[in-house]
Amino acid sequence: MMICPDDIRSRVVGYLMQRFGMRESLWQDYEFYQSSRGRIHLGPCELPDRPKPDSVGCLIARLQRTVKPSSALFQLFGQYVQREILNLDRDQTQRYLAGESLVLATDQIADCRPGFVMLRYDVLPLACGLLREGGQLENQLPRASWCRVDLL
């Protein structure tokens, strides 16, 4: 893990501001780190000299052709997201957390543009989802975290 070069940091911060309205000051107490596989972590400003850390802070995004925000980012900073919020009902939440992709009705996605969205149930930020033209919501949760939630 190394500290993100300025251009990459700006790309991530700019994307989160532009698409989700997440202001830059949210990140001011933390440092951005990058792993070899394009994973961006938000972590502490100071690190131990030795031994070298294996991992730092939380995964907040992956760099692909675009920036892909992580579910951990929304779960922690969801209250500061201002747009591209998609509310799921109980059944949809249960299915999404179990790893399913969903097809949503037009009125449910009326406030969102295609691309990455923050999913919410009740008032709780849940995860990141990928909304396609036509209402297909592609599941973005890693397989290892799929689970059958009983009480929600």
């Binding site: 107490d29 933390y30 938000l42 972590g43 502490p44 400003c45 100071e46 690190l47 131990p48 000299d49 030795r50 031994p51 070298k52 850390p53 294996d54 991992s55 730092v56 802070g57 939380c58 995964l59 951990a72 779960q75 922690l76 939440t93 957390l97 149930y121 709780l124 849940l126 689970c147 059958r148 939630v149 009983d150 009480l151 929600l152």
Partner: protein, 322 residues
Amino acid sequence: MDRNRPDNNRLPTFPQRMTERYHALVSEPQALSRALLSPPRKSFRVNRLKTDPDSAQARMENYGCRLEPVPWYADAFVIADYPPDSPRSEPLMLPQVLGHIHMQELASMLPPLTLSNELGNAERVLDACAAPGSKSTQIASLMANRGLLVANDKQFGRIRALKFNLERQGVLNAAITNHDLRHWPSGQHYPVILLDAPCSAEGTLRKNPHLLLRWNESLLEGHRSLQTQLILRAYDLLSPGGVLLYSTCSLAPEENEAVVDTLLREREHVTIEPIQVDGITLSPGVTAFENHRFDDRVAACARAWPHLHNIDGFFMARIRKS
């Protein structure tokens, strides 16, 4: 059924020697044995990085869970009952999945709690034996995600669970290291260190009764030797004026008072500070056990007993480098 608990007809019995030891340690050894074989209560801690106790409580009660507050910790609750119509005996709840709460035995919440004052404004904290991260996530919560928390564990296989828990709870201020504490490089010092040492885990028999089958007094010596090396190294990494909390989930004086006793003999400027948690009266450290005598200062250590406190057996020493 909990796969760690054999069914009632096959509950293991205590080895004779273990019973003798309890006679030397407590005035009600039978009550202790009984408590150690009864099922533990389910409890959780609220993660203040993501929510607050009132919201978490309201949500869980809304599901139909019956909660009991914990008199000594506002962030902790006992789940007295799950909703009667739950599809599973231990249903998976959304606040768990989102890291708003963390299922954690009450005793295991004590070490970070006793460091609350220090953690509130600590710049650098070392959790030396951190996996799977119950206490690390609590420490991060008490640090409000500020400063630096070094969460270390020697066992590579346990680092994955540590990462998973830290991420699920939204911990931003942690750096995970995979190192043997005994060989930790010199140089950087830490004002706050938690050493939640590997141990015989005798105090967790309620959850893991199968440990009884493996219990053997001769194993205690191996634990003691490792714990002694760990406490000495941790103390050397402590900043002057700093505080080291040594804890185990063992009841055995060999793994507890004896280890602290060695630290007192082998290092200078060591003070053992009394441990006080409002709402629970912990028992003092023992200064003698069978034919061993320990430094009188170990009386300032604290022990939780399952039969007295209705939590897992636990030991803590709060060590100041003056």
